[in-house]
Amino acid sequence: MLEIKNLHAAVVGGKEILKGIDLTIRDGEIHALMGTNGAGKSTLSKVIVGDPSYEVTEGTITFNGADVLAMKTEERAHAGIFMSFQQPVEIPGVSMTNFMRAAVNARRKALGLEALKSTDFLKLMRDKRKLVDIDNKLVNRSVNEGFSGGEKKRNEIFQMAMLEPSFCILDETDSGLDVDALRIVAEGFNKLRKPDTSALVITHYQRLLDYIRPDIVHVLLDGRIVKTAGPELALQIEEQGFDWIKDETK
């Protein structure tokens, strides 16, 4: 369970973006976070995973009872938090295999498990690759280097399969128009999802939510969650935009 209480955060040395967020995501729940550009949706996701460009000025985040803010970025990952990046970075020269091996074994080490033997690791790669239907060619290249937008998304899902997180953040803020990318992420997530897997889906548009049915929809405006309701809220926003919510909160 992810619990966020009164979270304030700012760009390091810059202005405050999150102005008191309260959010609880129980195991197995899917929450959608919607809002206008610049409302702070991506900031929230980056603060949860521990992007060093932001600093938390107030409030707490706990994950399954542990203090997330006291954990390093990688420790948060080991605890089961995974973010599917909006724009996955290219890392030239680092092969997918070495990259995944380092990630998988770091997690295993944190969980007190032995590092995987090379053959077992390669088998795992093979199995997961089939599961998410990613081309072998992509896995043999450097991380995300020269991948198309869709390939990058597929690679995110592949990594999700490898790391088996219990809480996923799907940041799809800007790819609202790229239906293909949305579908890849959504279908991949649905396939990998277990009954207790929870998720925070960030999007501008209802469209992504056609693929991933949220239990709860939040609207984030100017650093605060101003409205929380069931899936019908997303439909209403699709039809009417955000202005009526803005008016309501005035």
Partner: protein
């Protein structure tokens, strides 16, 4: 006493001894070379090509010189570990300046320069000191005046060296020592060779090495050459390399510096024949107080040649990395294609990087570019890796390794490539402070 005077006096006092233990052809050039040295003195740092290395300071201490050719034993079995595993090579040890063996097989001569000079004075005369001008460079002058032996590789017309030749340069001495080594490589038309030079220091004394290497690539020859320096922090190396390239050649040279004290590598390539392709690559991993200064010139004198240059530095602690690469395209060298890249990672607040790529172009129908960067590891890549659970140190290591990997991956000699991957990865993991092979490091 100036840095120069001790060498001038040494030569004056020991002239006959030097002559006595060397070949007449080499002796014939000494007086003039010493006069050139006296006239120039060591280049100051105001001299453009020596901006980043203080030569006089390096040569100021009092080093011994083995002019009387006292035999220095080397237990080659002991150093054999330095060998690159899985590499099927012909192995030749050179102790200080003296090859331990000379051989002629299938017309290919590998061995002592002096011995070859006695047997084939005509061949030597046409090549020795023809590229390394004693007027233009004081190190050349000093080396030509003092060097008594060295390595000669002669590959006759259309002969191919079947196996990679691995030359292991061993520095051995009980006292601080100046070693003046000469290398001459003559590749006749159509010759082919792969050469790997490894520098090791076997004793914990101060070594100062001057190496002047002249390479003649005849038309349609192929040379793939690697120099790997794995000495220690008390070693200074001044290497001047000249490669003259004929028509239709493919030449690649790699300079890899992993362990050293202070290194200055000058690499000058003269493209004298059309349709040739030259690659100059280099990789430097430096920490503590290591200093590495690579200074290159690719001189396009004729049309239709291609040159590529890639140097990568990872500079940590208080190390200093310098790179200056000049591409000169002469008026007639139309259709030249030349690309130069120097990328540096400055990994500590006290490390220092200088980079100076230069294009000097006098022909209009050319494709030339250079790029140079000094930077830090990509923060977004680090974050991405951390989000996947990779600890920050591991993520940094992977990125550093990927950075240096670009040069290592271009090495065609697979066992060497694997060996360097292994050595560099260990180095970045902090698991290895010295090379494991040398007697010293055990």
């Amino acid at each position: 006493m100036s840095s120069e005077s001790q060498y001038i006096e040494l030569y004056r006092e020991c002239r006959s001894m030097i002559h006595q233990h060397s070949a007449p052809l080499m002796n014939a050039l000494r007086d003039e070379a010493m006069a050139d040295f006296e006239a120039q003195g060591f280049p100051s740092q105001k001299v453009e090509r020596y901006k980043y290395t203080n030569v006089a300071e390096a040569f100021a201490p009092n080093y011994g010189v083995n002019l009387n050719r006292v035999n220095i034993p080397a237990d080659t079995a002991e150093v054999f570990k330095c060998d690159v595993p899985n590499l099927s090579t012909n192995l030749l040890f050179v102790v200080n300046d003296k090859p331990l063996a000379s051989s002629t097989r299938d017309g290919i001569y590998i061995g002592s320069l002096c011995d070859f000079a006695m047997q084939h004075p005509d061949v030597l005369q046409q090549h020795y000191a023809q590229l390394a001008s004693t007027k233009a460079d004081a190190i050349n002058a000093l080396n030509t005046a003092l060097a008594q032996d060295g390595l000669l590789i002669f590959i006759p017309r259309n002969k191919r060296m079947e196996k990679t030749l691995q030359v292991v340069n061993l520095l051995r001495s009980g006292v601080d020592m100046l070693v003046n080594r000469r290398v001459l490589i003559i590749m006749e038309e159509g010759a082919e060779a792969t050469l790997l030079f490894c520098d090791h220091a076997m004793d914990q004394v101060n070594f100062l090495t001057t190496q002047v290497c002249e390479i003649f690539c005849g038309n349609n020859s192929r040379l793939d050459m690697y120099e790997l320096e794995e000495t220690h922090t008390s070693c200074r190396r001044f290497s001047n390399l000249y490669i003259k390239v004929g028509t239709d050649c493919t030449v690649s040279h790699n300079n890899i510096t992993l362990f050293n004290g202070e290194t200055r590598n000058t690499t000058d390539v003269l493209l004298m024949g059309e349709n040739s392709e030259v690659t100059l690559n280099g990789c430097v991993v430096a920490d503590k107080n290591q200093r590495v200064d690579n200074n290159t010139l690719i001189d396009h004198q004729v049309p239709n040649c291609t040159s590529n240059e890639l140097f990568k530095y990872v500079v940590d602690d208080s190390a200093v990395g310098a790179f200056a690469g000049r591409i000169l395209v002469r008026p007639d060298a139309q259709k030249t294609s030349s690309q130069e890249t120097n990328a540096n990672l400055c990994a500590s607040p006290t490390a220092h990087v200088y980079t100076q790529p230069m294009l000097e172009i006098y022909a209009d129908d050319v494709k030339c570019s250079h790029g140079s960067t000094v930077g830090v590891l990509d923060a977004s890549a680090l974050f991405y890796m951390q989000q996947r659970g990779i600890p920050i140190d591991e993520a940094r290591m992977l990125l550093k390794f990927a950075f240096a990997g670009q040069v290592i991956d271009a090495i065609r000699l697979e066992p060497l490539r694997d060996r360097l991957h292994y050595l560099i990865e260990k180095r970045f993991r902090g698991e290895l402070n010295k090379c494991t092979g040398c007697a010293l490091c055990k």
